[in-house]
């Protein structure tokens, strides 16, 4: 018997809401949306955690500009504090080493971290999900209470077709979807908004493509001044969290 599953709900007992920021394609800005969403929530006075679940390519710590080392151990492990957010990432354990994990290994890593991380009392725990609808998505749905998804898409037809599948799966599994965000928007969110409408999910708004974003990565002060943060803050306002 695996004892870790018994510990997960207890470790998350002080977390009011868990938001999985997901999209089924890579490179559509899920990590930027997840991280700025956490920053925006913190800016609105919420107590926020950010858990980077992209174990093979973690990047939330890069966006936040933190290279904190091993988490402190105190009856479990403590997330790091960065820009007013409690942050956990395997990058804190790995440094720059690559971690080639198959699905079963990713499942075990997720379960292990959920069983030992002390999130404490949080209004929202934001999950930065890996691309796709693979093991981690299914594990999160299976293991985490009070979970809802925030889907991220772009106006690319390739992405919309992929997010369509994610939306259909979440509907079938009856997993709550708080809404869909259009990211990297250049001309308005017709395609993503229509997709949200087809599935009966709220359209949470468009986040513009901002060429200056790259320069702001790693600098929370500049991120907060940018167009992306402003738009994501609007998304958070629409969510009402």
């Amino acid at each position: 018997m695996d004892p870790r599953t018994a510990a997960v709900s207890e470790r998350l007992s002080g977390v009011s809401r868990v938001a999985a920021v997901a999209g089924s394609k890579g490179g559509i800005g899920k990590s930027v949306v997840a991280t700025t969403m956490a920053l925006a929530l913190a800016g609105r006075g919420r107590s926020v955690g950010l858990f980077d679940l992209d174990f093979t390519s973690p990047s939330a710590h890069v966006i936040l500009g933190t290279r904190a080392g091993f988490p402190a151990e105190e009856f479990g492990i403590e997330p790091h504090e960065a820009a007013g957010i409690r942050v956990m990432s395997v990058a804190f354990l790995l440094g720059d080493s690559p971690a080639p994990l198959r699905g079963v290994d990713a499942t075990n890593a997720l379960l292990e971290l959920l069983a030992i991380t002390n999130w404490g009392d949080l209004d929202v725990l934001v999950l930065d999900m890996p691309p796709g609808l693979g093991d981690t998505s299914l594990d999160v749905i299976r293991l985490i209470p009070r979970l809802e998804f925030v889907l991220v898409g772009t106006s690319s037809r390739l992405v919309i077709s992929s997010v369509e599948r994610a939306a259909a799966l979440l509907r079938e599994l009856r997993v709550p979807v708080a809404g869909i965000v259009e990211n990297m928007s250049r001309s308005g969110g017709d395609g993503v908004e229509a997709l949200a409408g087809r599935h009966g999910f709220p359209f949470l708004g468009s986040v513009p493509f901002d060429p200056a974003l790259e320069e702001a990565v790693g600098d929370v002060g500049r991120l907060r001044e940018g167009a992306v943060f402003g738009a994501v803050d609007g998304v958070v306002a629409r969510l009402g969290w």
Partner: protein
């Protein structure tokens, strides 16, 4: 003290298993500890027998049997089977700490001694598993 968190998980799982099996009291719990996670067994047992009973009286007097299991890896690329000593030295404290917290991160630090690859399976001896719960009114494997 990560060992406390693992002990807490074991205790919760054991009490849940006992409840599911209709036991009125837990008497003996068998826990398997894999070599890979490199757990401080003394801290782990201390948490189970001295700390956690103060939190949940149902754990008072429970006997915990610890079975230690050597780690075995199987390389998916070349088929070699190997143990911890063959997969890399233990002297890197960062690697040891990462594997201690999340054993799957061994894929970042250990390698197959035959082909040098990271695509291996942890066949045995990964971490902590609850093997058996015995008590009044039932028994649960």
């Amino acid at each position: 003290m990560h060992e406390f968190a693992l002990a807490d998980a074991v205790a919760r799982a054991a009490l849940r298993a006992a409840r599911d099996a209709g036991m009125s009291r837990v008497e003996r719990v068998t826990v398997k500890i894999g070599e890979l996670q490199d757990i401080r067994t003394d801290l782990f047992v201390f948490s189970l027998t001295e700390v956690l009973p103060g939190v949940d009286p149902a754990l008072a007097g429970v006997v915990f049997d610890i079975v230690e299991e050597p780690v075995r890896f199987g390389c998916r690329a070349c088929g070699a089977e190997f143990g911890r000593e063959d997969a890399g030295d233990r002297s890197d404290p960062d690697a040891a700490e990462a594997i201690h917290l999340v054993p799957e991160l061994s894929h970042a630090f250990l390698r197959c001694p035959q082909c040098g690859g990271p695509d291996f399976e942890i066949l045995a001896g990964r971490g902590v598993t609850l093997e058996r719960v015995e008590g009044t009114g039932g028994e649960e494997d």
